[in-house]
């Protein structure tokens, strides 16, 4: 596992992914047949979905315009409830704060709920280097950790790993179990992981989770999971640390509710995630369980600079993964090609900020600018526009990885792989049709504002040339 960015290798990573037939099949199944269909089903069950998206965008903008005040209110309420708030300028600050808390209770093992912020600060490497064993408890993260990989997707970290590979990984790591045991089915794999992790939950000295939302009114932090691992992590050990970033705060519990009406529905099409857990301070007098100590670590890591920049809108992101699930580039390259923690469109906007545009200059061009990411974003982040702004910056530092460079190279790769070419084109045609709706024409298209300012762009009719040729339309 390495957190050293290798975004400049995007092309090599993309080529490797394109040549991996097995990965291509998993991508197709996970994204197109999985997340994309489920999102449409989820949306269709909530007629007010679009109205809630507008409201969520406005809510996030309001928070960003008052971010300092909301953070002060949140901090005061956490302290009132008996918790501790720690401020981290950057990844190193955050790692040291967490290490010090762990050391103060002489922690040997730490159970961890899924947290992208923990990935952003490379927390596991730091704990391991200091003789503290971090144990990922989300099933996908656990598999990825055992294989010394990085997550390939922010909400489906191990989708790129086949069940046979998971079985091999478990055999290599769970060496106290019968080597001849049957691990052919996902359900036996899950049962084994559940058994292995149950003891670790109970033995952990510290539990570390992320926080999807912070509530200023009550000093509450909350997490969203389907497995229940985050709850065991925050309930069983004597110390709970929630590590999160400063833009996650909202005014009230009802505002958190608005985001939660959108998050699961957009991510997985679920009406609601199985466990939405709101925690306020440590264990109370008379409580039979819960942590004695509750800490919140609030990470800036450049977000306060993003706030004053042309990239501010990315701070609205609620990490649902929809832009990733609908990106035709991610759909063939998968997550590792992006070379750092956050993949896909949201990642290509965030990563240059964290690792520098010199390192990440190819990412803003890892896009067909089809606009699908913006279309599906539950908080309406203008992702193509933000990517374009990064392209300008890449050009300004003498790294024009732009259309002329990367797009042609991607084209070259695709042109030599007819089946992939068809898949990418099908996706693009489908996306344009979807955007055009009943009208059959687009009045605006991210990336083609010069064209659509004065005229509509007709949406492609009847599929790709190849598809129509095959159907005998000659």
């Amino acid at each position: 596992m390495s957190h050293v960015p290798h975004c400049h290798d995007f092309q090599a990573g993309a080529k490797k992914a394109l040549d991996d037939e097995h990965l291509q099949a998993l991508l197709e199944r996970t994204l197109k047949d999985g997340f994309q269909k489920k999102r449409v089903q989820g949306m269709s069950r909530l007629p007010e979905y679009d109205q809630l998206r507008d409201a969520a965008r406005d809510l996030k903008d309001h928070v960003l315009e008052h971010l300092d005040v909301y953070l002060e209110r949140f901090e005061a309420e956490v302290i009132k409830a008996g918790g501790h708030v720690h401020w981290a300028r950057d990844a190193q600050d955050a790692r040291e704060i967490i290490l010090n808390i762990c050391r103060s209770v002489d922690a040997k093992t730490v159970s961890k709920g899924k947290s992208m912020i923990a990935e952003e600060i490379a927390l596991n490497d730091h704990l391991e280097a200091n003789a503290i064993v971090p144990i990922e408890t989300d099933l996908g993260e656990y598999i990825v950790q055992l294989r010394h990989e990085l997550p390939s997707h922010i909400i489906a970290p191990a989708f790129h790993i086949s069940k046979e590979q998971v079985a091999d990984t478990f055999r290599e790591n769970h060496t106290h179990l019968d080597p001849e045991r049957d691990l052919s089915e996902p359900t036996t794999l899950l049962t084994e992981a559940r058994g292995e992790l149950r003891d670790k939950f109970l033995q952990a000295d510290v539990g570390i989770t992320g926080a999807n939302i912070l509530v200023a009114e009550t000093g509450t932090a909350m997490i969203v999971t389907n497995e229940g691992n985050g709850d065991l992590t925050q309930n069983l050990p004597p110390v709970h640390i929630a590590i999160t970033s400063i833009e996650k705060v909202v005014p009230t519990l009802d505002d958190a509710t608005l985001i939660l009406r959108l998050l699961a529905r957009t991510a997985t099409g679920q009406e609601q995630s199985v466990y939405n857990t709101f925690f306020t301070g440590p264990k109370r007098p008379g409580d039979l369980d819960g942590p004695e100590q509750f800490h919140v670590v609030l990470l800036d890591n450049g977000r306060s600079e993003l706030l004053g920049s042309e990239f501010r809108d990315i701070l609205r992101c609620i990490r649902c993964g929809a832009c990733i699930n609908h990106c035709p580039v991610y759909g063939v390259t998968s997550g590792h090609a992006y070379g750092w923690v956050y993949p896909g469109p949201m990642g290509s906007v965030l990563t240059p900020h964290f690792v520098g545009i010199e390192e990440a200059h190819l990412l803003p061009s890892a896009s067909t600018f089809c606009g699908r990411c913006e279309e599906v974003c539950p908080v309406r982040i203008p992702l193509p526009d933000l990517l374009r702004k990064w392209r300008v910056r890449a050009f300004n530092v003498g790294k024009p990885g732009g259309l002329a460079g990367l797009a042609l190279r991607v084209w070259a790769v695709l042109a030599r792989r007819p089946r992939l070419y068809q898949r990418v084109m099908n996706l693009a045609v489908g996306a344009l049709k979807m955007l055009a709706g009943d009208k059959g024409a687009l009045t605006s298209l991210p990336g083609a504002g010069g064209w659509t300012k004065t005229r509509d762009l007709p949406a492609p009719q009847g599929g790709t040339f190849q598809a129509r040729y095959k159907r005998g339309e000659r």
């Binding site: 008052h66 489906a156 509450t220 009802d254 369980d289």
Partner: protein
């Protein structure tokens, strides 16, 4: 300069140029006092019997088992059936007065927090939410959170009178329960919608990842329906 001061200095450097700090603070106080705009979807506005039906439908579509009972005193016999089918002799129950008042003859019942080896747990919900078939569990001396997560089978008693139409109603109820000068929420509030699950292995949906494999809701008829 401390990390906190540095972060706030950077935030203020941007925000002060747009709006005076005092005005911003007043706007925040006003927004928190006024609360969020009313954005409750139509599905979250059901009332009467329709609300109960929606709760059951949504809970079942999230793979929870719902069992409607006319009276509270029917709970032990249903729990005994579940224990027998799970081939389990012991019940871990939340030390809730409603449960403690029940007749548990023939059941090895222990009241307390959840333990790693618990097979069947029983607790009482603070509320239900019809909109998505969600249970709301509020932690406290009579409702340890670990009972909600450690057992293989989690049985939850909820009264029809406690089924709210939407999440906002439950937040309002919780805030009315606040004692003056006390904390604004129980330490933990869980929304639970169906049993634990994962799709992390090849997107195959499997129940019972780390939390309960099975969630059984015992819905007790209301007094006013």
């Amino acid at each position: 300069m401390s990390a906190r001061s540095e972060i706030f200095a950077r935030l203020k450097a941007t925000l002060d140029t747009v709006q005076d700090a005092g005005v911003r603070a007043a706007q925040v106080d006003q927004r928190i006092a006024d609360g969020a705009p009313d954005l409750i979807p139509l599905r979250g506005r059901a009332h009467g019997p329709a609300r109960t039906v929606l709760f059951v439908t949504e809970a079942e579509s999230a793979q929870a088992d719902v069992c409607s009972l006319a009276r509270l005193d029917e709970v032990p016999s249903v729990v005994k059936d579940i224990l027998a089918r799970a081939n389990c002799g012991a019940l871990k129950a939340a030390p809730h007065k409603t449960l403690q008042a029940m007749n548990w003859d023939g059941v090895d019942v222990a009241y307390g927090r959840g333990e790693g080896a618990d097979q069947v747990g029983l607790s009482v919900a603070y509320a239900g939410i019809a909109e998505t078939g969600t249970l709301v569990m509020a932690s406290g001396p009579n409702s340890p959170t670990t009972v909600n997560f450690l057992p293989d089978i989690h049985i939850v008693v909820v009264s029809e009178d406690d089924i709210a139409a939407n999440y906002e109603e439950v937040w309002a109820r919780l805030s009315r329960d606040v004692k003056p000068g006390g904390t604004k929420l129980p330490r933990t509030v869980n929304w639970i919608t169906g049993p634990s699950r994962t799709a992390d292995i090849e997107q195959t949906l499997l129940l019972g990842a780390h939390g309960p494999r099975k969630l059984v809701i015992l819905l007790i008829d209301g007094e006013h329906t």
